[in-house]
Every structure is written in C-alpha cells, then in structure tokens.
Amino acid sequence: MEREPGPGGARRALGRLVEAVLASRGEANAVFDILAVLQSEDQEEVQEAVRACSRLFGALLARGELFVGQLPSEEMVMAGSQGATRKYKVWMRHRYHSCCNSLRELLAHSSFQVKELALSTLMKFVQLEGEHPLEKPKWEGNYLFPRQLFKLVVEGLLSSEEDRSLLLSQFREYLEHDDIRYHTMQAASDTVARVTDGRPEVPLIFWNNAFTLLSSVSLPRQEGDLSSFYVKHVELSDKWKVVHLKEHQKAFQLMWLGFLKHQLPLRICKKVLVIMHDAILPHLAQPSLMIDFLTRAYDIGGAISLLALNGLFILIHKHNLEYPDFYRKLYGLLDPSVFHVKYRARFFHLADLFLSSSHLPAYLVAAFAKRLARLALTAPPEALLMVLPFICNLLRRHPACRVLMHRPRGPALDADPYDPSEEDPAQSRALESSLWELQALQRHYHPEVSKAASVINQALSVPEVSIAPLLELTAFEIFEQDLKKGPESVPLEFIPAQGLLGQQDDLCAQHFTLS
C-alpha cells in the first residue's frame, strides 16, 4: 500500500482500497493491507483503518458475501475443489474473524478514542451479524445471536490488566437493550468463571471491571414486554428465552452468585453490599440464595457488617429468614467507630427499625441504650445530635427501661454495674445501671448537644422524636446553623489581650513558643 503524506492521506488510501475490494472480488487481497494498518503505531491511522474495516465488513455482511454455517478451516477449502465463490466467501469470513480479533485487541489500546471506536465497531458487527446470521437456523424461527462475537467483546471489557471503567460506561448504553443485557449476563458469568477457574489469585483490576459491568446491569422492575432489541428482528417469538423476564432474572442470579461465591476483596465486597438491597436483591429469582454471602459478610465485622445488615434486614423482613442471635450480633456491632464511619446514617436507620418492635425484652433495649450512651462519650457533635434522641426514643418505646433515667430511692453505687465488655446483652446488667453518660454529656461544649442530653432531666414527653432528619446531619451543616443563629448581640471578652500567647495560665503559652 502506497503511503501518502499527511493525515488525510491514509484515509484516502484506505478509502480507495475499500472501494476496490467492494467493487471486484479480484481485488480481495487488498483486505490484508487494510488489516495490516490496524496494527499501526499511529493512532490516527488505526482509527482510519477501524473505520475502513467497519465500512468494508459492514457492506460485506449486508450483502451476504460471508460464508454462512460451520466454518471449515481455510487450508482445507483452498485446497479443495469447491466453487470460487464459496472459496471467496470462506476466505473472506476468515478475514472477518481476524479483523474481529484485532479489534478486540484494540480494546486494550492506549488511546481511549481507539478503544471507543473499536467497541462501537464491534457492536456494529454484532448488530449486523444478528440481522444476517452467519449460522444456519436449526429450525424455523430459531433465535440466533452472534454469541461468539459478543463473548469476545465482553472478554475484552473484563480485562485483568487495566481499569476499563470508562469503556464500561460507554458500554452501558448498549445495556439498555434487552437482548444485549441478557447475553451480557451470560457472557459475564462465563468470563468470570473462566478467569477465576483454577487461579488462586485474581487481580483486583479484574474484580473492579467485573463489578462495574455487573453493577451496571439493571433489570426492569416489572414484567413488561421486553421488546427493545438491539438486533432488529422481523417478529418476536414467544418461544425465545430472551423475551421472558424470568429468564433474565435467572441469568442475573447466576451471574451474581457466580461472582459472589469467590473470595472477593473487601473493597469490592463493600461496594456490592452498598448496592445489595437496592439493585440486586429485588431482581433475584430466589433472594434467599444470597444468605451465604450476607452471613459471611456479617461475620467479617466492622463497616462490612454494618452494610450486610441492610441485606439481611430485607431477607428477614420480606423472605422470612430466621437468623439466630441477630440482636446479639447487632449489639456486638456497636463500637466507637460506628459514629465515624461513612455508613453511619444507614446503620442507625436500620438499628432504629430493628429496635422499633415493642416486643423486645427490656434488658435488650436497656443494653442497647447503655451501650450507645457509652459510645456517645467518644462521638463527635453531629453524631451526638442524632444518637441522643435515638436513646431517648428507645426509652420512650420501652417504659420498662425508664429506670435508666429515673430510679428513685435507688442505692448509691461506687461503680457502674454495666459491663461494657460483655458480649451478651442479657448479661450486661444494663438494667441495674443509669445513664450517667448522658449526664456527663450535659456538660458538652456544644449548646445543642447539651440541650439534647438535658432532656433526661425531665420526664420524657410521650411522642417520639423523629431521627430521620438527623441521620444525615453533618458537622458542616451544624456549623452553618450556628453561624446563622440570629443577629444577637455579641458579648466581648473583657480581659484585654496581651499578645498571641500573652495570657497567664494559658495552656498554649505553657506549651508553645512563637519563636
């Protein structure tokens, strides 16, 4: 292929070659030239070549100039004595294959534009091949989908080498189509199984890519007609699996179970748990199958346990799951870090739900209240503003626990009978104790916290305080609120300033110097 200088040169040359190949079968060998450019170093040229391939094979597919059926090997056909047309078709189809393989390799190209172009070209081939199947239908109305080619694409996306989240987000557009989604789920399950098969260590990048792809699959909620197909069909048949939501759900479930049965990295685990209640559980054919994963996660401890709580809650609540020692474990989850983790709001929302039952034994609720109060001694103000009403709500719901804040004629003790290290709430002796922690928090430096803690000085009012608006409270919001608190007069310090570290009995002056 002769080269012309300039960026437009390659395009023109390639264009000419494509024209030639399409015009006469005699020029077919020019395909090699085009395919050769796909390996080029120059990004522009590669893009041109991809476009040329797209045009060329698109036209060939549409014309039906590719061999249909089980593809014999190239040498056999060339050596055989079939007709020239058949030989040409078989040969061309081999070229098509090699083109697809090169495109799949281009998905790992360094330039994103090339990647994107390769992906869209491959998807175009998928569409055209679906319309003009390269295999013979086994019976009348047989559903045909270029599974091989599509698997190639998905494999390309689920790379183990580099993060393909950008490309995957491009791919998400195609997932709008029902058939693509269905086959993606199948292909993804296959790929995950293949990659993890027999390998002890799977790179984190693969998990990331897989999770991105899996999480972008979202099934429709209702059984509508699944008719938004990427591959255009003249008419849809009821016998096809792809038109039934149930089949989709099965594929979905297979895909996730296949994914989650592996030992996932903690970060991926967290991500899965975050979307579990919302995006995964409702679409599963049998949600109770998730129990394995969830209990495993719940046992890990820390933030993961908090997150697993949500999925477990749905299983318990909607699917009649019996979970032994649930409250004991919940009690165990309460440690100082709950007030500092990102999922604080979600956790307390759920904890509120779990503890809302009025049939819980008093000792349990008392233990929870006492534990939370103890933890509140280390909490930042935004958490305190939420947890103090939370504790008061517990006491409101369970009048038997009010001894925690009101125990007339009780003997004075020299130590708190509550045992914080006891794991069993029943043994923690919380009911014998009082909420001295809240009394301590009445001396908190923030006025609102102090007020919230002072609620226990009076008999509690009957209606519960809704903690929903307090769950998402951040320190910055409190800060803004404090700043905006009315234009009251500003009292001033009356001891005159003597310099930055001028005051006597000033801690800063004792421990720091300016020099």
Binding site: F476, F479, V490, L492, P496, C508, T513
Partner: protein, 866 residues
C-alpha cells in the same frame, strides 16, 4: 355629615347655641318653647351618663336633631351666601385673618392678626439686601437707640403727649366747637350758675390755658434735668470710691455727659463671666482600683450567667423596663453630662470632655484604657506638642485626663517595647503622621509591606487614630473594614515562610481594641474567616473522605477568637462555630506527620483554653489525645481501648512518635514547642526530630493530666478516661522513656485513680402536675349587634367599610336634599317677600289714589256746594 359643635352644646345649650336655636325656630316657624321642649330629653339623656364624652353619638335621632340644630346657621353662612351672589360678577373678598372661621376665639384672632402684621413689617424688602437688618425692639423702642444712651434724660419727659394734641384742643379746633360748647356749657352750668359766656371769651380762655400749661411743662423738664445731672455727679463720686480710682479731674464735669459705657461694660462682664462650678474630686488610687474591681466583678457575673445559658430563652420574653417617656432612641440619661470647668496648664479647658462617659458606652471606656495600658508606656505621647497634626492632638486631649492618671499608676510598661524605644522613635519620625484608612486589603498590604515590626505597628496605630470614629462620619465603616483587612493580613503572615508570628503577636492587641469598638462587624469578619476555613475543609472531605490539617493561619484565627470573645458562653455567635471548627480538625484530619501532631496539639491546647472556665466536656479531645498517646507507644497490645477515626491501629503512621534512639532520649530536655516549626518545612536533623517527638509526648501527657483534673467531677469520668488509662499503663510499663516523661505519665495516672466515683442513680426532676382541662368559654367579640359574627377579620373589615360607605352615601344624599329644601325655602321666602312688598306698594298706590279721589271728590262736592 358635619357636626361642628362640641358636645357641651348638646348637653347644656350655651348662649351661642340658644341664639342658633332662635334662628332655627324662626326658619322652621315653631315657637322656641316647643324647641326647648325638644331639647329636654336630650339633656336628660346626657345627664344619665355623665362619664361618657359623647353619650348619644351614633344615635340616628340625635344626629338628625343635631343636624337640624347646627346645619342651619352653617347653610345660611355658606349656601345662602352663594345663592345670593349667584348673579354677581364682582366678588367681595375679606382677607382678614380668620374672619369666617369660628373655631378661633376673637382674642386669638386678634393676636394672630397682630403677629401677622408685625411679620409683614419685618419682612425684608429684598432678600438680597443683606444690610437691612430687622430692628430689635424692647417695649416698642429700638434697642439700637437704647444702646446709644444719649437721651436718657429726655426719654422720660413727655413722650406720651409731645406729639399728641390735647383732646380739648382738638375738639375746639376741629370739632366745630359744638360738642365742646355743649359740654362746657353743661359743665359751667353747674359751676357758675346761669352765666353764659360768649364764643370769643371761651376761645381766649382756652388759648391762655394752653400757654400756661406749656410753660409749666417746660419748667418741670428743666427741674428734672437738673436733678438727674446732680445724681450723675454724685454717682460718679461714689463710683470712684468703689473702683478705688482717683476721680477724674472735673473741669468740665458739670457740663459733660457721663460715659455710660464704663458701667455698662462692667455689668456685662460680670454677667458673662464663667463661674467656677464644683467638679468631682480626683479619685485616689485605691478608689480607682476598687472601681476597676467592681467592673470586673460585674463583667464576671455576666459571663457566668451567659455560661450557664440560663437566659437563652428568657431574654426574648421579658424585655427591660421601658419608661413611658422613652423615645426608644437608645438614650439613657444616667449621668449629668454637662461640661465641667477644668483647668489645664493654667488655662481654661474648653475642649470637649470624652463623649464616652456620657453615653455610658463602656466599650469606649475600655478601649481607652486599653489604649493607655496596651500600646505603650512612654509618656511623650501625651505631653508636649510633638508636631502631630491637630487630628492627633484632638484624640490626645480626649482622653487626656484619664491617660494622665493611668500613666502614673501604670507600673508595668511593656519591656520589650521599652527596649527598642530608639528604633521606635526613629520610625516615628520617618512615617507620615496622617494615614488614610485603607479601602482595600491590597492597600493595607502595600502600606505595611517592607516595613519593620515597629513601623508596621505604628502605621496601624496611626491609621486607627486618624480615622477615629469621633472625627468624621465615615470613619466607623473604615475602621470596621480595617479589622477585616488586619485579619486577612494576619492570615497571610501566618502562611508565610517563616511565619510573621512576632507581628501577629503585636497586632492582636490592635485587633482586640478594634473588636471592642465594633463587636458586630468584628464578629462578622471572624465568622467569615472561619466559614472560609470550614468550606475548604468540607470540600476536601467530600472529595477524598478526609482532610489535611490546615495551615497555621486557621490555628491562629482560632486562637484569636478565644482572645476576642468570651469562650465560656453557653452559646456565642462566634465561639460556638469556632468550637465546631476545632472539633472537625480533631476528627477529620488524619495525623500523617510530626507537623500534624504539633498542629493537633496546638488545637487541643486552644480547645482546652476555651473550656478552661466553663469546664465543658470535649469527647474529640480525649480521642485525639488517646491517638497521640497510641502513636507514641511502642509494642502495643491494644487492649481495653479502641481508636477512633483519624487514627488507625495499624498502618504507616501508627508509630509516628516512637523514639528508639537511646542517646536522643538521654539528651532530651523538655522545651516548649515552636509554632514556627508547625508552619513551614524546615529541615530537622534526626536528633531534633526525636526531641520534638518527646516534647510532643510531654505536652500530650500534660494535657491528659489537665483533662483529668478538669473532668474529674463528671459523672462517668472513669468511663471517659478508661481507654487513656489502659494505654497509659501500657505506656509506663514499657519504661523506656526519660524520667521526666515517666513522672508526668505517672502523675496523670495517679490523678485518674484517685478520682472518687460515686454513682448516684438518676432521678428526673419533679414536673409540675398537669392541670385539669378546663372548658373555658369561647369568647367572640361582638362588634355590631345584628351583624353576622364569626367571619374572618378581613371580611368583617370589608363589611364595615361597605356599611360605612352606605351610610355616608345616604348622608350625602340627605345633605343634598336638605340643601335643595333650604334653597327652595329661601326662594319661597324671597317670592313671598316680593309679593308682600308688591302688595304693600299696590295698597299704598290704591291708598294714595283713594285719598286723591277722595280729595278730588270733596273738592268737587265743595265746588258743587258752592
């Protein structure tokens, strides 16, 4: 409808009212007895409710009656007049003041007229004529004439009858003699019996009489003149004695007029001389100290009240007592602010006293005190005019009295400043004396950049003085802005490398003074700065989930907040956000380096300083100290405590403060931590770094001990410090640290253990019993009887308006109808009058004709007879 009369009229008909009654009776052709009869029930009704002012107002019958009574005369005055003038093209206008208005009494009317006339006389003929002054008079005499004193004698001669001729004379001359003649004759008839005089005689007598009178008058005048001159001479002698002056040689004393000026001038001098008023005595030192103490005590009591936060809800409910005479302009007269006479350098001090005293704004007072004590101890500032502009001297004289006292009682001068007095003096002379307040931050920066610390301070000081709020109107805003700029400047200085902490240290005093002057704007700028810092942090937290420790500027700002505002308040508009800001610093910023440790410890110190008085509990601080202690502990077992957010049990920084070098440990000496080092990157040797680590640990242990002491009384103290205790025990068990540190730790630990814990069960406060529900009747205000009640306020208002409109409309129609009736009546009466006249005339004609006829007939008969 116009009801012009006061209600006195309708209760007790006055004379005026009865006169009108007469008119009414005549017009309506009813007898006045009938009318008075009509009035009777009215009187009775009025008497029945004497307390009310308008007993029957609104009663339709009454209104109608009043209308009859009082509208008629009014109609005669207005409508009738118009009617009568309907065909006239000329209008006669009476321009006399208030001629037709009945609501001014005649006396008043006359007074007003007189005043108007006077005014008209004094009006300048031309506004551009400046020379023509209005003449001032006293008892009708020009003051200018009195001033001249030239005709004292003549003044009391015969002023009243000099120009006027005697009544008799005029009567005789111009009266034609008739009246006089008659009068005289009647007089003389009594005296001389029946002897009439001729006209000639009478006139002669008269002339003689007048001549004699004239002569007498002249003689009298001369006598008076003589007497006055004699009196003057006598007075002169006495005056000479009084003034201890030798009397002037009296060569021409007899003839010459005495000079009135000498006396007059003296009298005036005496009158206008300022009298010395007693002023407050100077206070002794003890008294001053006592006063200052009382003030402090009062402020402290106020602070305590705010700390407890008791009045949070109350202060909105019960406002202060407000006098009925209060104009709500914030003026409170609690001191006599009249000017006192005072002397300075032997001269009268006429300049104004400090205005701060009068308005009782203690902030101003304080500020002046601060100025006196804070900025300098050099007395040159005050005495002697050191060439400052008069602006300066004004400020100086303002607090002159106070400053002088303070300078004497001020024992402690700032030694640092006293040392470099020379440099200061040099700077003083170089810099311009008047400096305009900067309008932008850049301006301030350009003013301050490239100058030494002293010069910068001087510049700031002078800016403050030159734009003192008492000097010009806009200065307040300028100084308010200056606060913000200074704050910004301090932030810039703190982020510099190395940070200009020395200047900041001095500038803080100025900030304090400015803040005392303008608390509101100062708090606003402070809030702005804090918000900026928080926003920055929020942004990083949101993007990365954590934030780095901010620069030194934020820490300095936090420290400054603690110095400008009372930190112990239950809720304070600036301090509460600052506390939250610090809480965020301690919870959101992971400790990644030794510098972070330093900053964190500084924040802890500031935090503890904030709550040193209120002794409030800070969970974050305990967590942070636990974390610091953790990263300083080698070989940990991690039992009995859990770390929270910014710290992690494992990881790169979990042994940040661990020192393993034995030699460094041996050479370490406890020193204060340097803020400088916290700010900028500064190469440190390994030993230095190790020493800093140990110092940090020492500070941390000291803070732990402090916390233990502060929070010892909290109810669940042991639960709070349990993790610290566990870690500290572990720490001490290691035993590798220097002795001093171990002692520190040990003392903290023993302090913790000795705190007694008493767990008294909680008991709620007894709440008041809830009162029984009482069914109080629903009260609905009845506004008008027969009207639908219970509708909304707007609807009622609308109905009321509609009703009023209807009533007014009817009233207007009735008025018009009455007007027409009145006119018709008038026309009718005119016609009848005319008819009567015509009838009369016709009758007359007939009469005359009849008499003519009769005469003629009689004549004829006579003739006929003849």
């Amino acid at each position: 409808m116009v009801v012009p009369a006061s209600e006195g009229c309708c209760l007790e008909p006055s004379r005026q009212c009865l006169a009108q009654l007469d008119v009414v009776c005549r017009v309506y052709r009813v007898s006045s007895t009938v009318f008075t009869f009509l009035l009777l029930p009215l009187r009775a009704l009025g008497r029945r409710s004497p307390g009310k002012r308008l007993p029957l107002l609104g009663d339709p019958a009454h209104v109608c009656f009043l209308g009859l009574l009082f509208q008629l005369p009014q109609r005669t005055q207005t409508l009738l007049k118009e009617y009568k003038e309907r065909d006239k093209s000329n209008v006669f206008k009476d321009k006399r003041f208030g001629e037709y208005s009945s609501d001014i009494s005649p006396e008043e009317k006359m007074l007003k007229r007189f005043a108007l006339e006077q005014q008209r006389q004094h009006e300048k003929k031309s506004i551009y004529n400046l020379n023509e002054d209005e003449e001032l008079t006293h008892y009708g005499q020009s003051l200018a004439d009195i001033e001249k004193h030239n005709d004292i004698v003549d003044s009391d001669s015969d002023a009243e009858d000099r120009g006027a001729l005697s009544a008799e004379l005029t009567a005789a001359h111009f009266g034609g003699g008739d009246g006089l003649l008659y009068k005289k004759t009647s007089q003389q008839q009594g005296e001389e019996g029946e002897k009439p005089k001729s006209r000639k005689e009478l006139i002669e007598e008269l002339i003689a009489k007048s001549k004699q009178e004239k002569r007498e008058r002249q003689a009298q005048r001369e006598d008076a003149l003589e007497l006055t001159e004699k009196l003057d001479q006598d007075w002169k002698e006495i005056q000479a004695l009084l003034a201890r002056k030798t009397p002037k040689p009296e060569g021409r004393g007899g003839k010459e007029k005495p000079q009135p000026d000498a006396y007059d001038v003296m009298v005036r001098e005496l009158g206008f001389e300022m009298k010395a008023q007693p002023s407050n005595r100077m206070k002794t030192k003890e008294e001053l100290a006592e006063e200052a103490q009382a003030r402090l005590r009062r402020l402290e009591a106020e602070r305590l009240r705010r700390m407890l936060g008791k009045d949070e809800d109350e202060h909105t409910k019960n406002p202060k007592h407000v006098s009925a005479d209060d104009l709500s302009d914030g003026f409170i007269l609690d001191k006599d602010d009249r000017r006192m006479l005072s002397y300075k350098d032997g001269k009268m001090n006429i300049e104004e006293e400090p205005g701060g005293e009068a308005s009782a704004s203690e902030s101003a007072e304080e500020e002046e005190e601060e100025e006196g004590s804070g900025e300098e101890g050099d007395p040159e500032e005050n005495d002697g005019p050191d060439g400052h502009s008069d602006l300066e001297s004004d400020v100086g004289s303002e607090d002159g009295g106070e400053r002088a006292e303070e300078d004497t009682c001020l024992v402690t001068g700032d030694t640092a400043i006293a040392d470099d007095g020379g440099a200061r003096e040099a700077a003083r002379t170089e810099l311009p004396y008047t400096l305009a307040a900067p309008e932008s931050y850049e301006e301030l920066k350009s003013l301050l950049s490239g100058k030494s610390v002293e010069e910068q301070l001087l510049v700031v000081e002078r800016i403050q003085k030159c734009s003192h709020p008492s000097l010009a109107v806009g200065n307040k805003a300028k100084l308010e802005k200056l606060f913000g700029f200074l704050l910004e400047y301090i932030g810039d200085l703190a982020t510099e490398d190395p940070p200009g902490l020395g200047i900041i240290d001095k500038l803080v005093v100025h900030l304090y003074n400015l803040c005392q002057m303008f608390p509101d704007s100062a708090s606003d700028s402070m809030k702005f700065v804090l918000r900026d810092a928080m926003h920055e942090m929020e942004a990083t937290v949101e993007s990365t989930g954590r934030a780095a420790f901010p620069g030194l500027d934020v820490l300095i700002y936090l420290k400054i907040v603690g110095m400008l505002f009372p930190t112990s308040d239950f809720r304070h508009p600036v301090v509460t956000p600052a506390l939250l800001c610090m809480s965020q610093l301690l919870t959101k910023c992971p400790v990644l380096s030794l510098r972070d440790v330093l900053k964190g410890l500084f924040v802890c110190c500031v935090f503890l300083d904030y709550v040193s008085l209120s002794q409030r509990f800070i969970p974050e601080l305990i967590n942070f100290l636990l974390g610091i202690l953790y990263i300083a502990t080698p070989k940990k077992q991690s039992q009995g405590y859990t770390l929270v957010h910014p710290f992690r049990a494992l990881g790169r920084n979990s042994e940040l403060l661990v020192v393993s070098d034995k030699e460094d440990m041996a050479t370490w000496q406890r020193r204060r931590l340097s803020l400088h080092w916290a700010a900028g990157p500064k190469a440190q040797t390994k030993t230095e770094a190790n020493h800093t680590r140990l110092s940090c640990l020492a500070v941390c242990l000291a803070l732990v001990e402090r916390c233990v002491r502060v929070y010892g009384a909290l109810p669940s103290f042991h639960d709070i410090v349990r993790p610290l205790r566990a870690l500290l025990t572990e720490h001490l068990a290691d035993g590798s640290h220097p002795r001093e540190l171990q002692e520190l730790g040990q003392s903290a630990l023993t302090e913790m253990e000795t705190q007694a814990q008493l767990c008294r069960p909680l008991v709620c406060e007894k709440s008041k019993p809830v009162p029984l529900k009482l069914f109080t009747p629903r009260l609905v205000r009845v506004l008008e009887f027969g009207r639908k009640q219970g509708s909304s306020k707007e609807e009622q208002e609308r109905k009321r308006l509609i009703h009023k409109h209807k009533r007014e409309f009817r009233g207007a129609v009735r008025e018009i109808r009455r007007d027409n009736q009145f006119l018709a009546r008038m026309q009718l009466s005119e016609i009848t009058e005319r008819d009567a006249e015509r009838k009369r005339k016709v009758k007359q004609l007939f009469n005359s004709l009849a008499t003519q006829e009769g005469e003629w007939k009689a004549l004829k008969r006579k003739k006929f007879k003849k």
